[in-house]
């Protein structure tokens, strides 16, 4: 029954796209309105909420001292978690599919990690013994499609205002800080949906349900790519990928001003 309704809605998305139109009237390469709210939790070392249209994600960062990996004794690291809260998408009565949430977290993670936005050496406290682990945990509050870009935005905004806690005898001193986390790059994700042969930027929920294939492109700055992720059962032509990359660079300039 529900399947039938979704099929009808998808048919509508598709027939409009055939005429070059999107269900919400946007241009094919247009983002929905974006807003960012900082400082969502005093207990977090950094935090922010990001909205793309009605899609909303809250991200918080906690810096925790831990032991470094044996093969990287002088480097801290990040750990990126994602959760889709039950009210974000009432469709998932028994929770969202686990693999989809893991993919989401890992793509956001790679955007940050592979861009080298954080110099992990600056997270070293004492070589071989103690380093900072930055736990970046994101909660989807409302899912109106394109969680990837919204979560990347929220996570980046949270990192941009993250403070480094004070340590005494290797233990955290609560609510005291020694400085700010240094961000070398401003990595962002740009997600495209391919629907009945057309490629659109920032798919909303209806488009998300109707899409055949998904492509996410992460840029580290205005001329460097740092991660790709193709998903879903459809395919892309090489030329389509190239167009997506062009748009990602173009949109990146605007978005980086916001975070």
């Amino acid at each position: 029954m529900e399947d039938v309704i979704w099929n009808l809605k998808s048919d509508n998305v598709i027939s409009l796209l055939k005429e070059g139109k999107r269900v919400d009237g946007r241009a094919l390469d247009e983002y929905r309105p974006i807003s960012i709210q900082k400082g969502i939790s005093e207990n977090a070392d950094g935090g922010a909420r990001a909205k793309i249209g009605d899609t909303e994600v809250a991200s918080g960062v906690k810096l925790i001292p831990g032991t470094p990996y044996p093969d990287n004794p002088d480097k801290g690291t990040i750990s990126t978690g994602a959760e889709l809260l039950q009210f974000a998408n009432p469709e998932f009565e028994v929770g969202p599919p686990r693999e989809a949430v893991i993919e989401l977290a890992r793509v956001v993670d790679r955007g940050i990690r592979e861009s080298k936005a954080i110099d992990f050496k600056t997270l070293c406290i004492r070589e071989g013994e103690l380093v900072w682990i930055a736990f970046i945990d994101s909660y989807v509050l409302n899912d109106d499609g394109n969680l990837f870009d919204a979560m990347a935005l929220a996570a980046l905004a949270a990192l941009n205002q993250t403070k480094i806690p004070k340590l005494e005898d290797d233990k955290l001193v609560k609510h005291e800080y020694t400085g700010k986390l240094k961000m070398l790059k401003q990595p962002l994700l740009f997600t495209f949906a391919k629907i009945a042969g057309e490629v659109v930027l920032d798919p909303n929920f209806l488009e998300w349900k109707a899409m055949d294939a998904r492509f996410t492109c992460s840029t580290a700055d205005d001329k460097t790519l740092c991660a790709f992720q193709k998903g879903e059962s459809g395919s892309f032509k090489a030329s389509e990928i190239d167009e997506c990359i062009e748009i990602a660079f173009k949109k990146g300039k605007d978005l980086r001003k916001l975070v």
Partner: protein, 245 residues
């Protein structure tokens, strides 16, 4: 944070450490209808606490064997974000969160006309984004608003507050410093304000009968202040909705 063994006067010249009077609530802000995809929702800031609540339902209870042919069931989930507490919270639900979810859901059941929705579930989910004492009562207040926002027929709103003891004084709405007092007693309390029925009541710490009597009185007064704020928040939401028509 005061050391636990230090001698502290928690109320001095009628004022508490944060300047409040013994019967004074922390600053509270409530907003109704904040989540487009949920059937009902609310956001609350109560002191440092920041909490978002969403309601889905009534919808068919699944799996089938959980259906009650006489009434809806309420499934309440209280969760803390990893970054909502001073130490990072493990993302897995803690036993504390499971217990709070159970008693909070039971408290809400009394307020809803459940018998009108047999075989269904009403799912209430609250996420704590920031915390500083009293999250379970603040969450319950937000959840109650979200239920009303979802248009569920209710006997009354659920209004809730923390009350208890610190430094020998009975005070309303303890903050974290007060909860850390050596003799601290914390009493989360929720009532249906119209009938003053008690729907949630827990207590931790050593208390005499006289202290309990005083606490209960203070708590019920607190709940009634909360109730007034809840009504205002709902009126604001409905006025806005009306204006949009």
């Amino acid at each position: 944070m005061p050391k636990k063994d230090e001698k502290i006067e928690y109320v001095k010249g009628g004022k508490r450490l944060d300047g409040r009077k013994v019967d004074e609530l922390r600053p509270i802000k409530m907003e109704v209808g904040v989540l487009p995809r949920a059937d009902g929702s609310a956001y609350i800031e109560w002191g440092q606490n920041k909490i978002i609540a969403g309601v889905m339902g009534p919808r068919e209870a699944l799996p089938k064997h959980t259906q009650n042919p006489y009434k809806a069931r309420v499934s309440y989930t209280y969760r803390m974000a990893t970054f909502s507490v001073p130490d990072r919270k493990n993302p897995r639900p803690a036993r504390r969160e499971i217990e709070i979810s159970k008693v909070s859901g039971e408290a809400l059941e009394r307020a809803i006309f459940l018998e009108r929705f047999p075989n269904t579930t009403i799912d209430v989910f609250v996420e704590i984004l920031d915390s500083n004492a009293g999250t379970r009562v603040a969450a319950l207040v937000a959840a109650s608003l979200a239920l009303a926002d979802a248009g569920l027929p209710m006997r009354d709103l659920v209004s809730a507050v923390g009350v208890g003891k610190a430094g020998g004084e009975i005070i309303l709405d303890l903050n974290k410093d007060e909860e850390d007092a050596p003799d601290a007693v914390d009493i989360p309390l929720a009532i249906l304000p119209r009938t003053e029925e008690i729907v949630l009541l827990q207590m931790d710490g050593l208390l005499t009968k006289a202290e309990w009597a005083k606490s209960l009185k203070l708590g019920i007064e607190g709940c009634k202040q909360i109730h007034e704020m809840q009504r205002q928040a709902l009126r604001k939401k409905f006025a806005e909705a009306e204006a949009k028509r």
